[in-house]
């Protein structure tokens, strides 16, 4: 009997294909002894345990290979899952009991009771489990001293199962060799990793918010977002410019009339509500003093933002014209490499401007400006921490030009080290920063500042944090009091 190399199904000697899975049987590696069920190598002619011929003459003497019923091939995908196939405790002991057709109907020849060893011949520790009535056959004993010990020990089934289980991975020699070759190729060609990844800390999941609670929260957020429409700029009068905003306003005011500022619009429409007012406030103050604005973007969406903001400023200051006072150079791809090119030469990175496709030398706004070193200030407007970092690393570190950053409130903490080291001059953030800047430079408040909206959202967040914890504390207190009362009742009962 030979084992299928694919599914370990037992097949009769000489079978060309597996009766269970249909895979070819050539290349099988194990034979099963029809007498004692021992596993033998494919090339073995006799069982290593009982010396029974392995050609099937003994085991299949009453049932030829043709008599074995063939079970139709079932593809692996259609087979039940292992847990589904596991036999429950109350399940029938055999396939026949369950009314199913067994795969192999040929009875396996078991050693007869009279071929077993005498208890006297067994080691002392095995006598407990031996069958005292069994009589040893001297011939059998001479042929194989282990005959009769099968299934003798209570744990033997488990040991045999453990021995059988490694058969599966070992059955496809060619596949395993291919896998080994693939693994070697991968190890040899894959870049060496710098070390194991750090431990991933998964925070404990908080209980989900009830549906009505989520609806209430979202309603509050909606009211906060609509606050600028009904609040009448309640928060505006309270805004006082912070020292950092005052310092930035002073530095930008020091840019001489007719000077130039390079402005990078590195943000998309998602942050426009927060950054458009800030950009407008800062650039409007520069434009009012005829400072040239040279805009560019390392974010593809930033071009549209630049057009919107500069267009709004030009609409308010009719004398501030494209080409003469401000120019949009375009989008520079390549992130670090792109900014490096900008730091080397503006004309090298932008052969022509974006709006008119004119050479930079033909634009009055670009007079006397060939590199970043020629501008008076460099302002980066960004909605993530990476863009200012790239500007610092690729441009500021090489040119020494001071960079100011106008960023979203969420990004400001990420830039704190650069501000402390002096690589970033000033960092102003958020919609509140826009109002502060307007106040610092004396520009009237803008309807787009939306200070009330952000203030209302901050209040909602504060309320959520406080109410959630208050409710949690109250619940905890009720539990403690309840436990104490229960304890008191229990003590009184005793």
């Amino acid at each position: 009997m030979i084992l299928c190399p694919s599914c370990s199904q037992r097949n009769p000697e000489g079978a060309k294909t597996c009766q269970a899975c249909g895979e070819p049987m050539e290349g099988f590696v194990y034979r099963i002894c029809p007498s004692c069920d021992a596993v033998n190598a494919a090339e073995s002619a006799f069982c290593h345990r009982c010396l029974t011929p392995l050609d099937g003459s003994v085991a299949l003497d009453s049932a030829s290979a043709d008599d074995v019923p063939v079970t139709p091939y079932t593809p692996p995908s259609a087979m039940p899952k292992p847990e589904a196939r596991a036999r429950p405790k109350s399940a029938p002991a055999s396939a026949a009991d369950a009314g199913m057709t067994p795969i192999i109907t040929t009875p396996v020849q078991r050693p007869s009771a009279d071929s077993r060893r005498a208890p006297a011949d067994l080691p002392a520790h095995l006598n407990t489990y031996g069958d005292a009535a069994s009589t040893p056959d001297p011939l059998t004993l001479a042929r194989d001293p282990l005959v009769g010990l099968d299934r003798l020990l209570p744990f033997e089934e488990g040991v045999l199962a453990a021995q059988r289980s490694p058969l599966k991975p070992a059955r496809r020699e060619r596949d395993r060799s291919q896998e080994d070759a693939d693994l070697f190729h991968r190890v040899a060609t894959e870049p060496v990793r710098m070390g194991a990844a750090g431990r991933v800390v998964v925070p404990a999941a908080a209980p989900p918010l009830p549906r009505w609670g989520r609806a209430a929260l979202y309603l509050l957020v909606l009211l906060a977002a609509l606050a600028p429409w009904w609040s009448g700029n309640l928060a505006g009068p309270f805004v006082q410019p912070r020292p950092s905003v005052m310092a930035m306003a002073d530095d930008l005011a020091a840019v001489p009339e007719g000077g130039a500022a390079l402005v990078a619009f590195d943000y998309g429409p998602g942050a426009a509500g927060e950054l458009d007012p800030l950009a407008t406030a800062a650039l409007q103050a520069l434009a009012a003093r005829s400072v040239r604005i040279i805009a560019l973007s390392s974010d593809p969406a930033g071009l549209g933002q630049a057009q919107r903001v500069l267009g709004a400023i030009a609409a308010e200051l009719p004398d501030y014209r494209y080409g003469a006072d401000y120019v949009l150079l375009g989008f520079v791809p390549g992130q670090e490499a792109g900014l490096r090119a900008v730091g080397e030469s503006l004309a090298g990175a932008f052969p022509a401007d974006y709006a008119q496709a004119s050479p930079l030398t033909a634009l009055p706004a670009m007079r006397d400006i060939t590199t970043v070193r020629d501008v008076d200030r460099l302002i980066v407007i960004a909605d993530d921490g990476q863009a200012p970092r790239r500007w610092v690393e690729q441009v500021q570190s090489r040119t020494g030009v001071g960079i100011d950053a106008l960023v979203t409130a969420a990004v400001e903490p990420l830039l704190a080290p650069y501000r402390q080291s002096g690589q970033l001059g000033h960092v102003v953030s958020g919609a509140t920063g826009a109002v502060e800047y307007r106040r610092a430079v004396g520009i009237p408040a803008d309807a787009r500042d939306q200070t009330d909206g952000y203030a209302a959202l901050a209040i909602v967040l504060l309320g959520v944090a406080l109410i959630t914890n208050a409710a949690e504390a109250a619940s905890w207190g009720r539990r403690v009091v309840g436990n104490r009362r229960a304890q008191g009742r229990s003590d009184r009962g005793r």
Binding site: P191, V192, M194, A206, L209, R214, L217, L220, V221, A224, A225, A235, G236, F238, Q240, R242, G268, P269, G270, A271, A272, G273, A301, G304, Q307, R308, L328, V332, P333, G334, A337, G338, A341, E344, G348, A349, Y354, Q356, A357, R398, E412, P413, A416, P417, Q420, G430, T432, T451, Y454, A455, L457, A458, V460, L461, L462, V464, A465, T468, N469, E472
Partner: protein, 200 residues
């Protein structure tokens, strides 16, 4: 042989750009500038490759009916924007597409962040451990100082905010940045020493 050539080219180019960063030698500066320009051209071609890949993915149309519908919308938007952008760069039509299609969609996605933020606040601001207490107290202080009238509440609040940003936040971010810088240096060294050559 081709692999060795690729490694040599990468290592030489990397060393040249690195030398250009630190040295002021006209020849090296010119070489570095030429290499950077080459990178920009490659980056532009990478964008084209990205567009080609996007077209390849979404023209297969082998997903669910709704996925096919979205693929069709994406393809139409891509082709229209591409044609308008190529024929009329920086035109009113392109500005219209940005102002009335791209901007509202992106702004809507950005606005949804507020709702996610509040849901996250509900989960994150619960006092369950010492770390949660620190997070809650810090968040509350920063949130309060974000309010325009925070200085009116207490003149100390802006100073507390500045302290939080200057000391604990800077320390944490600096640690992260140092780790990133060390990792970048190690990776660059591996590439320059040809230990790693993912390009070949």
């Amino acid at each position: 042989m081709a692999r060795i050539l690729a490694i040599v080219a990468a290592v030489v180019c990397g060393l040249l750009v690195l030398a250009d960063f630190f040295l002021v030698v006209p020849v090296i500066d010119a070489l570095g500038a030429a290499l950077i320009e080459g990178v920009l051209i490659l980056a532009a071609f990478a964008l084209i490759l990205g567009v080609v890949n996007l077209l390849g993915v979404h023209t297969r149309m082998n997903g669910s009916p709704s996925a096919r519908r979205y693929s069709a919308i994406l393809l139409v938007a891509l082709v229209v924007t591409l044609i308008v952008g190529l024929l009329h760069p920086a035109s009113e039509q392109l500005t219209w597409i940005f102002d009335y299609l791209y901007f509202p969609l992106q702004a809507t996605m950005g606005a949804l962040l507020a709702f996610f933020l509040v849901s996250a606040a509900y989960r994150a601001f619960k006092l369950r451990s010492a770390s949660a207490v620190i997070l809650l107290v810090t968040s509350l202080v920063v949130l309060i100082t974000q309010l325009p009238f925070s200085a009116a509440l207490s003149p100390l609040l802006p100073a507390v905010r500045e302290w939080i940003f200057a000391i604990p936040v800077t320390a944490g971010v600096r640690g992260i940045l140092l780790g990133v810088a060390l990792g970048t240096t190690a990776t660059a060294l591996r590439v320059l020493l040809a230990v790693d050559h993912p390009y070949a």
